[in-house]
């Protein structure tokens, strides 16, 4: 029992460390991608001491700056909720990563390690549950700041999130029709074979439509452009995080990027075979490599979309979510179930 506990603790800490570093470098990646798309260069100067590291220490510099900024709590704000809201946003964002499989098994010092922290038979519902709980941080931040813009931004942002959560959940149901299990480890295991390229999206081509719906819904869930009206700078000032400064603001930003990484990870697990790829059977260390590459391709796509497409107006956004994505995902469920009924 203590062996198991130790294994869990070590895996969790390793994953959290990797995640925090990943979030830091995703912010740098965002700024560089934004820069290159806008035909400029982006941060390329921050180094370490005498070594100019081409801007790779930029996240460290940003983090240190944020720690030393003044922590302002507005006078009329509700103190408890004001401090609780960023924590409520960050904690569910961190908790998703224990069910995602990063690889099959590796053997290290005569010890076989499965590359997932835990294996739940309702893994996908757990992820959905954490997405649902993530709404609270935003709506409480908006309310507790005692600022009209924050409140409106918070309410609009959370209304947007819950609307697109429906399309997200229903597209997950479409995938479940094919996989027959909620366990993420089993879903990825079912995509083995054919030299590691039997991904769900090749095996069941109808899932391409489902993936598009899922991806768009997850972009709206994480409040990324083109759905970021509630927090866009020229609209409601900064929406629900107007009144936040210093580390609490950092917590919101971390939560946002963690949600983006989560959405990309779940997309690769459900649609693109997770850690599967060529030669993964012989070299299990390739599993996490393939997984990371796929997640980064999806994150890059999200950033590419962000800097290419103008943002939706709020009523267009809600109309799109309710009148287009929701019926589209329902139609997908009907088509997929009809296909399964009549095939094989």
């Amino acid at each position: 029992m203590t062996n198991l506990l130790l294994e869990w603790v070590i895996k969790t800490i390793v994953i959290l460390l990797i995640l925090v570093t990943a979030v830091a470098y995703v912010t740098l990646m965002e700024r560089k991608v934004m820069a290159w798309i806008q035909m400029r260069v982006g941060p390329n100067r921050v180094g370490l001491g005498k070594f100019r590291l081409w801007g790779l220490m930029q996240p460290l510099a940003d983090g240190l700056k944020m720690i030393f900024k003044e922590d302002i709590i507005p006078l009329q704000a509700n103190q408890w909720l004001y401090v609780l809201a960023p924590a409520l946003s960050l904690i569910p964002a961190l908790m998703t990563f224990i069910v995602i499989p990063y690889g099959s098994q590796i053997t290290l010092f005569n010890y076989t390690i499965e590359l997932h922290v835990t294996r739940m038979n309702v893994g996908l519902l757990y992820v959905l549950a954490l997405t649902s709980v993530g709404v609270y941080g935003i709506v409480l931040a908006g309310w507790s700041s005692n600022n009209k813009y924050s409140l409106m931004g918070g309410l609009r942002s959370s209304a947007q999130m819950i609307s697109y959560e429906l399309a997200l959940g229903l597209s997950i149901v479409s995938v479940l029709l094919y996989t027959g299990t909620l366990d993420l480890v089993e879903i990825v295991d079912g995509q083995r074979g054919f030299h590691g390229l039997a991904w769900n999206i090749f095996h069941y081509p109808l899932l391409i439509l489902v993936f598009i719906i899922f991806y768009i819904a997850s972009l709206a869930e994480t409040n990324r452009t083109p759905f970021d009206l509630p927090e866009a700078d020229s609209e409601l000032v900064a929406g629900y995080h107007t009144e936040y400064s210093s580390m609490k603001f950092v917590m919101f930003q971390m939560a946002e990027y963690l949600n983006l990484i989560t959405a990309s990870s779940i997309s690769t697990t459900l649609f693109f075979g997770g850690w599967n790829g060529p030669f993964v059977g012989r070299l299990p260390y390739l599993g996490p490599v393939y997984f990371t590459v796929k997640v980064f391709v999806l994150i890059f796509m999200a950033m590419w979309i962000r800097y290419t497409v103008p943002r939706f107006r709020y009523d267009q956004l809600m109309r799109f979510g309710w009148k287009f994505l929701l019926p589209a995902s329902i139609v997908n469920i009907i088509i997929s179930s009809t296909v399964i009924l009549f095939m094989r």
Binding site: M1, N78, W80, L81, M120, N121, V122, L125, Y126, L128, A129, S132, V133, V135, Y136, V139, L140, W143, L151, L155, S158, I162, G169, L182
Partner: protein, 171 residues
């Protein structure tokens, strides 16, 4: 095993403490947050009895949708803090205690004859285990089909009712 007992006691205490906190808070938003805490600890309690699907669904539906609705309503209506009120009928206070005693006696009467049985969870076939999605799926659509279809009508009724009540004409 003692670990299960410890976890059960911890989550039960958190659930009861949050539930008491709902009553004791003046600010309605704090009460709503305590209710969310109660629901989360209830979900953990479901896990200790191996009802994984219900635990996850509890969070998705109850803590993730219903409580969002509650919080929206509290924020939209700007429900004020509870102010201390003057009691108009002092006699009711003395009536409350015998009624509470009656309710507790009733609970004891109902719960006493229940014998704890072990659930068929340890069977080797994971699909047959109670509480998994597979068993709930098969049971829901074979034995409990009528309640399931009636639920859809119930949901439709709730939808129509809410929309009718909340809109004014010409809105």
């Amino acid at each position: 095993m003692w670990q299960e007992k410890v976890l059960f006691i911890v989550f039960a205490v958190i659930a009861i403490a949050s539930a008491l906190n709902i009553l004791l808070q003046r600010n309605p938003l704090y009460s709503a947050l305590s209710l969310i805490g109660t629901l989360l600890s209830l979900s953990a309690l479901y896990l200790t009895v191996h009802a994984q699907f219900i635990a996850a669904v509890q969070i998705v539906v109850y803590a993730g949708a219903i409580m969002v609705l509650f919080i929206f309503v509290i924020m939209l209506l700007n429900v004020p803090k509870d102010q201390p009120q003057i009691e108009k009928q002092k006699g009711l206070r003395y009536l409350a205690i015998p009624f509470a005693g009656l309710m507790i006696a009733e609970m004891f009467y109902v719960l006493r004859p229940i014998r704890l049985t072990t659930l068929p969870i340890q069977s080797g076939n994971a699909e047959q285990a109670v509480g998994t999605t597979w068993s709930i799926g098969t049971a829901l659509f074979t034995d409990y089909l009528l309640p399931f279809e009636v639920t859809s009508v119930l949901i439709l009724m709730a939808l129509v009712g809410a929309m009718v009540l909340a809109r004014r004409e010409g809105d």
